[in-house]
């Protein structure tokens, strides 16, 4: 104990959103709507309104044309218009306007031509034929104190009045995607000189909780739009009529567990003992506790675990759309017993859940369900512990426990296109690396190396995550999801080399590289003469005619791009 390292435990506001946010700015904000209507006494002493404004928000001074949020972006902030007005585009804008590439698949001719057109220099670029933000796209870059912004030269041309909605002072936008950690559904542009207050998700949630009017307003919007759609997509509720879904949505409870910015602390967490790590994970439901409702995972991941001796063994992982506790709820309703949770559910990093109380289910859902859609009844709890444990484990095919733990502990469950290599079949020939290089101008976009469990390696290649934390905070929108495939890609032209995405990626799958011209000389910024840096990563051969070259180049069936968020896919591959 005497020799142990001592650090100051991080507090809620250790890292303010804007260190320059001062008391004067906060006082000014308290005099504008909706903060004037808020009662400071309804906020807790540890988290006062002024503290939220000081630490969880920042003021952005914007010029006409500045893009505030882009459709498809990820972000953890909501926005409040302090002064001026903004335009919401009701139709999708072209990718080049949003700072994204519009990559088209190459035909056979262009694909073969790569054989002789590929550069001999590493990371060679030819920007002479590439549209920069100022050319043709109608956009440009502007530096503000809050960072670099892309702006539109001609707003009416890009967002015609008939395809836009105007937002004025006191209006809020971007809150649903911030609260549900989903992609922004529309692009919002400053339509005049304006001041916008960006409020971090945590602070915004606090404002909703402490200010009834604001909370009700936001919640109503969410319940009317996203929540009903989410419930309809849930298998259990699929056959329920619309009026029941509406009633269910009204009585659903929102809960959030874990840390929204889990990726920041992920690496340091990994150094801890696994038992300790599991115990530290926020509990959503604990094995043996009273069953109080059905849990629906709205976002993020959760660990399903079972007590095993003195520790907890991971049984499965749940992700968006999965449910927990239906078996117990139905059993207790059908038998009149009060059986507790059979397993524990813990938050992995960050998880957003919806809870439907048992009373609501018994009133609205269970009487309407056909008996054929009931889950298997719970087993009799009599018998020795070992046999009981076997019965409590889900009956479906289960993954080897060690592999399950490996995928969960390293958060590979986030990957929808992870590169999984069977080392018992891999001859280390590097055909996959050569194929990647051949299709990316002689620059391989992954490293055939990475964490290993047994004979399974997850290589350092972009996993095109379900929760793409790399996309949070990109100032120019250069990193984004491809509209057709959903894969995460970087637009080399609009990337400004700020490293935000590389620093955010918890798997070290994004590399910052210095770019060169075709003679091997570093390309330099025309103003500062500093070498130009770009972010690079696997784009899953977006431009190639036949998908990821790495997988198709492996002669030994050792390499696959796999959706680890789906345990069935992993089992199918590992049991090949």
């Amino acid at each position: 104990m005497e020799n142990s390292t001592r650090i100051k435990f991080p507090a809620r506001w250790s890292e303010p959103l804007d260190p320059d946010m001062d008391a004067r700015a906060v006082d000014g904000l308290l005099k504008v709507a909706p903060f004037t209507a808020m009662n400071p006494e309804s906020f807790s002493e540890s988290m006062p309104l002024s503290g939220i404004l000081k630490n969880d928000s920042r003021l952005q001074q914007l010029e006409k044309g500045d893009i505030i949020v882009r459709e498809g972006d990820y972000g953890g902030s909501a926005f409040l218009i302090v002064s001026g007005e903004a335009l919401v585009s009701t139709r999708s804008l072209p990718p080049e306007v949003l700072g994204r590439g519009n990559k088209e698949r190459k035909g056979w001719g262009r694909a073969i031509a790569q054989l002789w057109r590929n550069s001999n220099q590493t990371e060679a670029r030819d920007y002479s034929k590439t549209k920069t933000p100022n050319q043709d796209t109608g956009t440009g870059l502007r530096d503000h104190s809050s960072g670099t912004h892309v702006f539109l030269h001609d707003i009416p041309r890009v967002i015609p009045p008939e395809h836009s909605i105007t937002l004025g002072e006191g209006e809020i936008f971007g809150e649903i995607s911030a609260l549900t950690r989903s992609a922004r559904s529309a692009t919002v542009v400053a339509n005049s000189k304006m001041v916008v207050l960006e409020i971090r998700w945590q602070g915004f949630r606090e404002l909703m909780l402490r200010n009834e009017a604001m909370g009700q307003h936001i919640e109503k919007r969410y319940r009317e739009n996203s929540l009903q759609a989410h419930l309809r997509e849930t298998e259990i509720f699929r056959d329920l009529p619309d009026d029941v879904i509406r009633k269910l949505a009204d009585r659903t409870i929102f809960q959030t567990f874990g840390n929204y910015q889990w990726s920041h602390k992920f690496k340091s967490t990994l150094k801890k003992d696994i038992s300790q790590r599991i115990l530290n994970e926020p509990l959503i439901a604990e094995q043996g506790d009273y069953v109080d409702g059905l849990v629906l995972i709205r976002n993020g991941f959760a660990r399903l675990s079972r007590k095993h001796g003195e520790g907890h063994q991971t049984i499965a992982y749940l992700g968006k759309g999965d449910t927990f506790g239906f078996r117990e709820v139905v059993h207790n309703w059908a038998t009149g017993q009060q059986r507790p949770w059979m397993l524990s559910l813990r938050s992995l990093g960050f998880v957003d859940v919806l809870k439907i109380p048992v009373t609501v289910l018994e009133e609205l859902v269970l009487p309407q369900l056909r008996e054929s859609s009931f889950p298997a009844p719970l087993p009799d709890l009599a018998g020795d512990g070992k046999a009981r444990n076997r019965r409590l484990t889900p009956r479906a095919k289960s993954m080897e426990p060690g592999l399950m733990e490996f995928l969960v502990e390293n958060r590979f469950i986030n990957g929808t296109q992870a590169m999984m290599i069977d080392l018992d079949r891999c001859t280390r020939c590097d055909d996959c690396v050569r194929a990647c290089a051949s299709t990316h101008d002689n620059n391989p976009r992954f490293v055939r190396h990475g964490p290993v469990h047994d004979h399974w390696m997850i290589a350092n290649a972009c996993m095109h995550c379900l929760d793409p934390v790399c996309m949070i905070g990109c100032p120019t929108g250069a990193i984004g999801r491809d509209r057709e495939t959903g894969n995460v890609a970087i637009n080399d032209t609009t990337c400004i080399g700020c490293s935000t995405c590389a620093n955010n990626c918890p798997y070290h799958n994004i590399q910052m590289v210095q770019v060169n011209d075709n003679r091997g000389n570093p390309i330099r910024d025309s103003e500062t003469s500093l070498p130009v840096i770009k972010a690079t990563k696997c784009d899953l051969c977006l431009e190639q005619p036949f998908g990821p070259a790495c997988q198709r180049a492996c002669p030994h069936d050792a390499l696959v791009r796999i959706d680890i968020s789906s345990p069935d896919d992993v089992m199918e591959w590992t049991e090949k």
Binding site: W108, Q114, R428, D430, V452, H455, Q544, A553, D557
Partner: protein
């Protein structure tokens, strides 16, 4: 058919490919027998099938160089074709030489080249199935091209910690100079590269452990670290030997394939020049 559904994907593929190969060979054998009975030259037919097979087998190398046009089939598909066409070619070769040892100089060289390529291919199937498992069992994964750098780092680190321990006792330093420096700094011999074993590693670790009784507590920590480094170096040597073997095998297999193709074309031209055509 129940057993088919119980087989995994790769076993089902193997069964399908073996069936196809055997059926193709049986069909060719039937045609050859019919031609021979009809007093036709079946050797031209088998010759064309054989040279066609050889070009198809060699085309796998070209497919590897064209990853951007994966529409011509995945490398895995080509690999399967390579294996089964290669295996089937042996039957065609046997039919072509009429199950006799060739007597001419060119034919003998050609047959020898074919056999070397064929058996190196058989070895390749075995090696590519068995060596990866051996490498995996080592534990540490390492990229072949990075091995020399890792070895250099280990050698430097070993030298540094031994030098640091010199102040208290020369025991470890002497041992390093006499027994370990060569192990860390030099390449392993041909014997090890052909049949890598853990004998040297076991001997050295045993010797390091025996030194313990001459060492102070602090130096024992150094000796334990040295033992770990010996294990690591030996693992790297094992990777060098096994990964190197796979690379060398492929190089030899491809190099002889090209010689075989050239000789085959010459043989075909001569056969046509002096054989009087297909009839």
């Amino acid at each position: 058919m129940k057993f088919l559904s119980q087989m995994n994907r790769l076993s089902r593929r193997r069964l399908r490919n073996v069936t196809l190969t055997v059926a193709s060979i049986a069909m060719l054998a039937a045609i050859v027998m019919w031609m021979d009975r009809s007093l036709l030259h079946s050797s031209f037919l088998t010759g064309y099938v054989l040279i066609g097979s050889l070009f198809l087998l060699a085309a796998f190398g070209m497919r590897k160089r064209l990853p951007m046009i994966a529409g011509i089939g995945s490398a895995s598909f080509w690999m399967q074709m390579h294996i089964y066409v290669g295996l089937g070619s042996f039957a065609v070769f046997a039919m072509h030489i009429a199950f006799r040892v060739p007597d001419g100089m060119l034919e003998s060289i050609l047959a020898l080249l074919y056999l070397v390529v064929f058996f190196s291919g058989i070895y390749g199937i075995w090696a590519t199935r068995s060596i990866p498992r051996k490498l995996t069992s080592v534990g540490e994964e390492v990229i072949f091209e990075r091995i020399p750098a890792f070895k250099r780092h280990l050698a430097r680190r070993a030298q540094t910690i031994v030098m640091e321990s010199c102040e208290s006792t020369p025991v470890l330093a002497n041992f390093y100079v006499n027994r370990l420096s060569k192990f860390f700094e030099c390449r392993r011999g041909l014997g090890y590269m052909l049949i890598p074993t853990g004998r040297k590693r076991r001997h050295l670790i045993a010797e390091i452990e025996e030194l313990d009784r001459f060492l102070a507590q602090e130096d024992r920590r150094v000796s334990r670290e040295l033992a770990i480094m010996v294990r690591k170096k030996d693992d790297l040597d094992y990777h060098t030997a096994m990964q190197g073997r796979l690379k060398l095998w492929l190089f030899v297999h491809i190099a002889i394939t090209w010689s075989l193709l050239i000789f085959s074309v010459v043989h075909g031209l001569l056969a046509h020049a002096y054989g009087g055509g297909l009839a």
